[in-house]
């Protein structure tokens, strides 16, 4: 059921990531300008009907939130709370509504969006992941790894026919038993947002830089361990932990996973393409 019954307000802006649109309502023109500048490829129709969540946003003046505080996320019954030095947010997935109080900086909104999408996705079998990803020949290839593993490097090496989804954080959804990767605006060192599009995941690689291009199998246990390490996780809520654990398990049931050692140049993409042709994914 759509939680919105009133007409679209003119002071709203919607950001759509992973096919899920979030409506942000604020009277602050600076906030609108910031959103439009920061998420150009991810702006959606400002319609209540098409948005899954709606937030009232209050922009705070500099110095109103002065605490130097790390991010903290928790749940009280069905209401989620998130706070950091530069923002406070709370929301309820049942009603699809929430409230944000933040300083006028894009980093605060980026963090809030990552938290909200992580929690929203968890009950739908999806997750946000530290991974670069790109679409090539209609299929998505996902390259996951911790900082320094080569996510930005492999993104920089992508050929012209690859559609880059992200060099840092990829958005994974499950639809009709199939996993898809979506582009996100969350950029890493590449400094540019991904394309707002999606494709079914053909292959998933854990990245390592090495002396030559090489692909090898990964045991399920090791893959689970590495995947869980790279899934974005903001809190130790029991329900959320179980959902993410089950999603990781299910993902590995459906998507072929390998370790990719690569030389940081363009040859890796042809290597991956040849491997994909030699080992086609059954979808």
């Amino acid at each position: 059921m759509n939680p919105f019954t009133h007409a679209t307000a003119t002071n709203s802006v919607a950001i759509e990531i992973g096919g899920t649109a979030i409506l942000l309502e604020s009277d602050d023109p600076g906030f609108h300008a910031m959103v439009k500048a920061k998420y150009p490829g991810f702006l959606a129709a400002e319609s209540h009907d098409s948005c899954s969540l709606r937030f009232d946003v209050e922009v705070l003046g500099e110095g109103e939130l002065t605490e130097d505080e790390d991010v903290h996320v928790w749940r009280e019954f069905d209401r989620w709370y998130a706070r950091r030095g530069d923002f406070r947010a709370e929301f309820d997935l049942q009603s699809g509504t929430g409230r944000i109080r933040q300083e006028l900086n894009p980093f605060a909104l980026n963090s809030i969006l990552r938290i909200v999408h992580t929690i929203y996705l968890a009950s739908r079998g999806g997750f946000l992941l530290h991974a670069a990803s790109a679409i090539r020949n209609g299929s998505a290839f996902v390259f996951s790894g911790v900082s320094g593993a080569g996510k930005t490097t492999i993104s920089r090496c992508a050929p012209d026919d690859a559609v880059l989804l992200s060099d840092e954080i990829s958005y994974m959804t499950k639809n009709s038993g199939q996993y898809g990767a979506w582009g996100t605006p969350f950029a890493g060192e590449l400094g540019q947002p991904g394309s707002n599009c999606t494709a079914p995941v053909a292959k998933f690689f854990f990245l390592e830089k090495g002396p030559q291009n090489h692909i090898e199998d990964v045991s399920r246990a090791e893959a689970t361990r590495m995947l869980l390490r790279n899934i974005l996780f903001f809190c130790d809520d029991e329900r959320l932990v179980r959902q993410v654990f089950d999603s990781a398990y299910d993902f590995l049931e459906h998507v072929p996973v390998y370790r990719l050692m690569f030389v940081p140049d363009t040859t890796v993409w042809n290597f991956v393409e040849e491997f994909d042709i030699a080992c086609p994914t059954n979808t």
Partner: protein
């Protein structure tokens, strides 16, 4: 030595994968992989079977190891998992409601 009892916490998510039990603590998101022996102990941790009996029946009878060595190893294992809230250890039997059937 008094009897000790162990039970699986309900605050975990667990799956058996390729002969290994993979467990994630819902309390602190710590991730554990149990080997074959540890999995046997984990599966036997029903809160009512004394730990000494689990060691004798699940470890010593299955593996060529003396009771004293096995007991020391298991004590260490229990202590480690208890620290992360994955196992509950008690000197008395542990009621069913705190034990878990969550391992899948």
């Amino acid at each position: 030595m008094p009897d000790k009892y162990i039970a699986r916490s309900s605050a975990i998510a667990a799956r058996m994968l390729g002969g290994e039990m993979m467990i994630m603590s819902a309390v602190d998101s710590t991730f554990f992989t149990l080997n074959e022996t540890a999995t046997l102990i984990w599966q036997a941790a029903d809160g009512t079977t004394p730990l000494a009996k689990i060691i004798a029946e699940k470890v010593c009878s299955e593996y060529d190891i003396d009771l004293q060595t096995a007991a020391a190893d298991v004590e260490h294992f229990v202590e480690e998992l208890s620290k992360h809230g994955i196992l509950i250890a008690s000197d008395t039997p542990i009621p069913q409601k705190t034990a878990s059937g969550a391992a899948r």
